[in-house]
Symmetry: C2
Subunit: 295 residues, 2 copies
């Protein structure tokens, strides 16, 4: 398949590379020239704009930071839809508002282009290793046409109509944020009350309290290593999407609203670029205790 | 080892049975005669009081509902410490306040009896199958003497000094409560915003949002099957212990405090005997939407 890729950031670069490795003809575009040259050196074609990418591809993927960026690269004058042929696929894999995903899908539909919203979970390592979880919204027909190509980057699951991929991603971020905070509260309580946190993690991890967060981020929590990973400020952005979606659909999310405020606090106190596991540090600050320092 | 077991409830009965099956000589006592007769029929000795159990055993386990019950069966006139020989072990496996666990340990110490607090996680099925997670507080020496016998019921982990087992259990309950609520918020948001909840669970379960709660309770959530399992009112009791321990040690637990209020709401609205996964039903009530009913 002739595949275009717009947005070669930390996630986009390895995702594009895996598409090329799966045997597709790749054309790339990105704002910064470095990653474009890198991919070109590995065999990708390059193009001057999202529109120029779309003009020569059957499917174009966009992977950019936020809703306004997706509007620009999809709907702008030099955007994907301006260049895409009828019958082409426009697949946005950024994490954005479900409402904007539906807006893009409607615009694409008006031009005979098939849109999918397909945000991912799994981080940079998942992108490199081609084992992202890909949550896809859109029609059965468009999903069927994209599925094999998406599988080069991970496991695509078709979760519903246009926007449903973004809704699922928002729900994913709701769970992860709540789990990080719950684990943080448990670790600070246990440690300040005299329990060895390593032993506690071992004792709790095998039971109903077991979470992928505690497994994957154990050393972040216990070594206070908050190098991202996934930045707290991005998780704060994502909970903003979740809460706006909840407001639109009439859903009350009390714990999500609380953790959103805590992520905001991290950001306002200069820790927005730390890994989201730095929620631990707020619980520690409030207790005047660092996990592992003894009771 | 001559082992005594006091408290043959839903958890205690299968735990006592596994001790007997591991080859220990078992003496039992419980308030209701039914379970006592049942165990006697399988080869256990019986005794009239916790004191009488302790008089003939090297180690006595107590498994009762709450802190006052432990005070009574351990410290009362007819309690374990009144009958235990010097050098015996008194092991409380109930889920109670760490402060009461330390009180029992101090009283035991004064009589030359070795105390351990050893609450469990894993539920009735874990008790039956002998694969409970056992969080043990107490001295190295007492843990070493009890470890093999405790292994008949699951996996004991020595987490710290007297009370540390109960602190770990409280932390366990903090995590599980937070995770159930986070998963509930995600499911209601996703479902009301048009995502098929079964597909969402599949898409999210493999990534960082993966939790044992979502795996083990998927059918509770999706079928609205709130047969316990673990009753919401008991989880509410346990978060009361966690919050009291946090108050004692100077730790702020914002999400735990919020979920504690939600568990209280379940109880006050007649759902305290439902499984703790019924936290979902509060999120559903507040959204006017049942998960799986479509957008």
């Amino acid at each position: 398949m002739r595949v275009g890729f717009v947005g070669l950031g930390i996630m986009g670069r390895p995702m594009a590379r895996n598409i090329m490795r799966a045997g597709h003809e790749l054309t790339v575009h990105s704002r910064s020239p470095g990653p474009v040259e890198e991919l070109a050196g590995e065999g990708a074609e390059t193009a001057d704009s999202p529109r120029a990418v779309a003009e020569r591809c059957e499917a174009v993927i966009t992977m950019v930071p936020d809703s306004p960026d997706v509007r620009e690269v999809m709907l702008g004058e030099d955007g994907v839809l301006a260049g895409a042929s009828e019958g082409a696929l426009a697949i946005d894999m950024s994490t954005i508002s479900p409402a904007v995903a539906r807006e893009v899908a409607a615009a694409a539909d008006g031009r005979g282009v098939g849109a999918l919203d397909a945000p991912v979970s799994g981080g940079e390592s998942g992108a490199i290793e081609g084992r992202l979880s890909i949550m896809v919204g859109g029609s059965d027909e468009h999903f069927a046409r994209a599925e094999a190509m998406l599988s080069a980057m991970g496991t695509p699951t078709h979760v519903g109509e246009a926007g449903a991929g973004q809704v699922s991603k928002a729900c994913n971020q709701v769970i992860i944020a709540g789990v990080i905070q719950a684990v943080s509260e448990a670790l600070v309580l246990g440690s300040k009350a005299g329990v060895d946190p390593r032993k506690m993690v071992r004792a709790l991890g095998g039971g109903l309290a077991g979470t992928r967060v505690m497994e994957a981020k154990e050393s972040n929590f216990l070594e206070h290593d908050f190098e991202p990973g996934f930045r707290a400020e991005l998780h704060h952005k994502d909970l903003g999407i979740a809460l706006a979606t909840a407001r639109e659909h009439g859903v009350s999310l009390p714990v999500t609203a609380l953790v959103d405020q805590l992520l905001a606090t991290l950001e306002h106190t200069g820790r927005g670029k730390d890994d989201h596991s730095a929620l631990l540090s707020l619980v520690e600050d409030a207790a005047g205790h660092r996990v592992g320092d003894g009771a």
